[in-house]
Amino acid sequence: MRLSKTELILLGVAVLLAAGGFIAPQWLVFLLTMALAKAMVVQGVVMQMRAGLVTFGQGLFFCVGGYAVGMSGHFLDITDLAVLLLIGVGAAVLLAMLLGLLMTRYREIFFAMLSLAFSMILYGVLVKSSALGSTDGFNVKAWTLFGWTPASGQAPLALFVIIVACSALLAVLLHRYSRSSAGMMCEAIRENEVRVEYLGQSPRWVLYMNYVAAAAVSALGGGFMALSAGHIDPEMAYWITSGEFVFIALLGGTAHVAAPFIAAILFAVVRTYAIELVPHSWQMILGFTLLAIIVFLPKGLWSLFTGQARRAKA
């Protein structure tokens, strides 16, 4: 397999980032881990945004990924990180294959609202499940990897290195996907679905595959979130969580595979300092940041680097 220059750079940055984890303070390592986990979910949102669909319910797969990891640890005594994450992704894929049959019939705001409805139904089910701690959720057990158990205090750093590696791999894959014919087809569907049909392609089929793939990516993020935070609760499926993912997706823009990662990190940094410095009005800071980006950088932060900031009009 030959890597393009972009991909080499992505991998290089990942190596730098992982190495930086060894010298950075622990809180920063943790913050970056959480941000990267969120970024994976945002990648799922962005994948659908490229096809012109905005989901207000990506928290559904985020939550399924997280709960699958937590429940496998609790009830099946599985502790291996790789197996746990695979179970999470598998569960989300199954669910997405089912829901996708219905979801791909909808566009625009109806897609958004229906995705929200499904996410909220899962939320309702979890709130009702007292065996799973209802709204309190439950703690996720410590993980191992291929028989290796990280020593106490090392787990956050180890998880950081793993999530950086996974993110890099994911970035390369998604980069290729967006350049592939299926990825291009998604953009064509956003521009004009009827013309895509005239080309003899089935938009529904393309959207279906895209939906399932996005679910898998988001579930991976949910799994990582469960492992790093050590706790899961139904809030993961709540619509405000999903709204935050859309927020980050627009912050970064859809132009490049690296954008969601950077937006998620920036979001985490802005939020944690806003909470610390203005504990009573951090939401306002977030709101104004978002407005400023929409007004001045309508294509997201990424346009800062492609010189489109002035010209672009969505």
Partner: protein
């Protein structure tokens, strides 16, 4: 195409390096100074529906108390300046946003802000999520309000985690015991709870306690509306048509006030007696919109149920002077947590003016007995990490002349009467008929 690809090449690098560099430089620049002050991280709700009834009184109590401590104004045994002679510095953080975010912010408090102790957390989910992290980081942590029975079931060998508030089961055991004394002939019981862990657990504990203490009373209706719904018209009708004698509710905050208002306006509270386990927190706001005789609790000997001791008088006076209203139970609980922390830190046997290490504070906290605004607190459960105190219930009474609400017919139950012993869960203890309970 070619062109755009070329421009892409440069950018990820530029972007990622900027981001990483930005993050790293921030981390280097904003390390908290080790300034010899005792830094306490206070975490409570500053936004959302829990901010008004709980978060703000708690944050205000922390401010009043810390100011008093730093000036050495408190009565003995807390007359020593600050904590162990070191001035106290407070960092306040918003608890809103869910458990995962709170874990992140907790790590930031401990590792970036370098606080010496964290006092906070109202939400049970947050407490459950924070406990293992606190143990992992070796960070002195005092939970001041959350009530989940799961806390020390999950955190089996606690070292750094303490809870100065009571298990929520105590509220409902206490409520059932109070009913058994004042309404022994009640036949029909209905309940309305918020549909989340707190409401479900409360109802579970209450109904099982009732089975033991008032076996003749039957549950006729149970409603579980969504939390923060605000409109309870249909629920009130559904309860009304069952004609209950008693209505139990663990509602809190705005939901509780709305329920009382709507149920009272529709005559439900005239026909049935409401038992509100968190009812005390709105005692100054009900006015004539709640019927006299409505049974309210304060989740322990707090707020209007707090005893009249020197410490509490000082606290009440200062609080009223600063905020024009009497401290409600969340305020008392916050004061209690900080006082407990001070007591432990000063008994950690380090020289005056020095800040003891978390482990030293924890050792002194374990099993401690300290004076608080609510009377004497014993850290007598969960191997000395969980406070044991009594609980009191009383009847709301409104005086139209002074326009003030108060509690009457208060009955207090000792801690040994309502607290499950170590080694058994609250529900097991209730179902077994409260073995070993010592009641007055």
């Amino acid at each position: 195409m070619n062109n755009s690809k070329k421009s892409m090449l440069k950018h990820p690098l530029a972007f990622a390096i900027t981001a990483a560099g930005l993050a790293l430089s921030l981390s280097a620049g904003v390390q908290a100074a080790e300034n010899g002050k005792f830094r306490i991280g206070i975490v409570t709700f500053l936004s959302g529906p829990a901010a008004g009834p709980f978060g703000e009184p708690s944050a205000n109590a922390a401010k009043v108390l810390v100011e008093g401590l730093n000036k050495g104004q408190l009565p003995a045994p807390y007359d020593k300046l600050g904590i162990n002679g070191a001035e106290i510095e407070v960092v306040i953080i918003d608890e809103a946003g869910g458990a995962a975010k709170q874990v992140e912010e907790f790590r930031n408090l401990v590792q970036r802000q370098k606080v010496d102790a964290v006092v906070g957390y109202i939400s049970s989910g947050d407490c459950l999520a924070i406990a293992p992290v606190a143990e992992e980081l070796g960070a002195m942590t005092v939970f001041y309000d959350c009530g989940t029975s799961q806390l020390f079931k999950e955190d089996k060998t606690p070292q750094y985690v303490f809870r100065t508030s009571l298990d929520a089961a105590v509220d409902n055991i206490g409520a059932a015991r109070y009913l058994a004394k004042v309404r022994p002939d009640a036949q029909k019981v209905a309940g309305i709870q918020q549909n989340y862990a707190w409401g479900q657990d409360s109802w579970n504990d209450f109904t099982h306690s009732m089975e033991q203490l008032m076996p003749k009373a039957k549950v006729v209706e149970s409603q579980m509306p969504k939390v923060f719904q605000g409109q309870y018209g249909a629920e009130i009708s559904a309860i009304s048509v069952k004609r209950p004698d008693i209505i139990h509710s663990s509602f809190w905050g705005g939901d509780m006030e709305a329920l009382v208002l709507q149920a009272n306006a529709r005559g439900l509270l005239e026909d049935a007696t409401a038992v509100l386990t968190c009812g005390e927190s709105a005692i100054d706001r009900y006015k004539d919109q709640a019927p006299n005789g409505m049974i309210i609790g304060g989740r322990g000997p707090f707020g209007a149920f707090a005893p009249d001791n020197e410490l509490n008088r000082w606290f009440k006076d200062k609080y009223v002077a600063a905020y024009k209203t009497a401290p409600t139970y969340p305020a008392s609980k916050m004061a209690q947590a900080i006082l407990g922390l001070k007591h432990a830190a000063e008994n950690a046997k380090v020289e005056s003016g020095k800040i003891p290490a978390p482990l030293e504070i924890a050792k002194a906290f374990k099993g401690a007995t300290f004076e608080s605004v609510s009377g004497t607190v014993q850290m007598a459960r969960a191997e000395g990490h969980q406070a044991m105190q009594g609980i009191a219930y009383g009847e709301y009474n409104y005086d139209p002349a002074s326009k003030k609400g108060s509690v009457q017919n208060v009955i207090a139950f000792a801690g040994e009467c309502v607290t499950p012993p170590d080694g058994t869960t609250a529900l097991e203890w209730i179902k077994a008929g409260f073995p070993g309970a010592q009641c007055n």
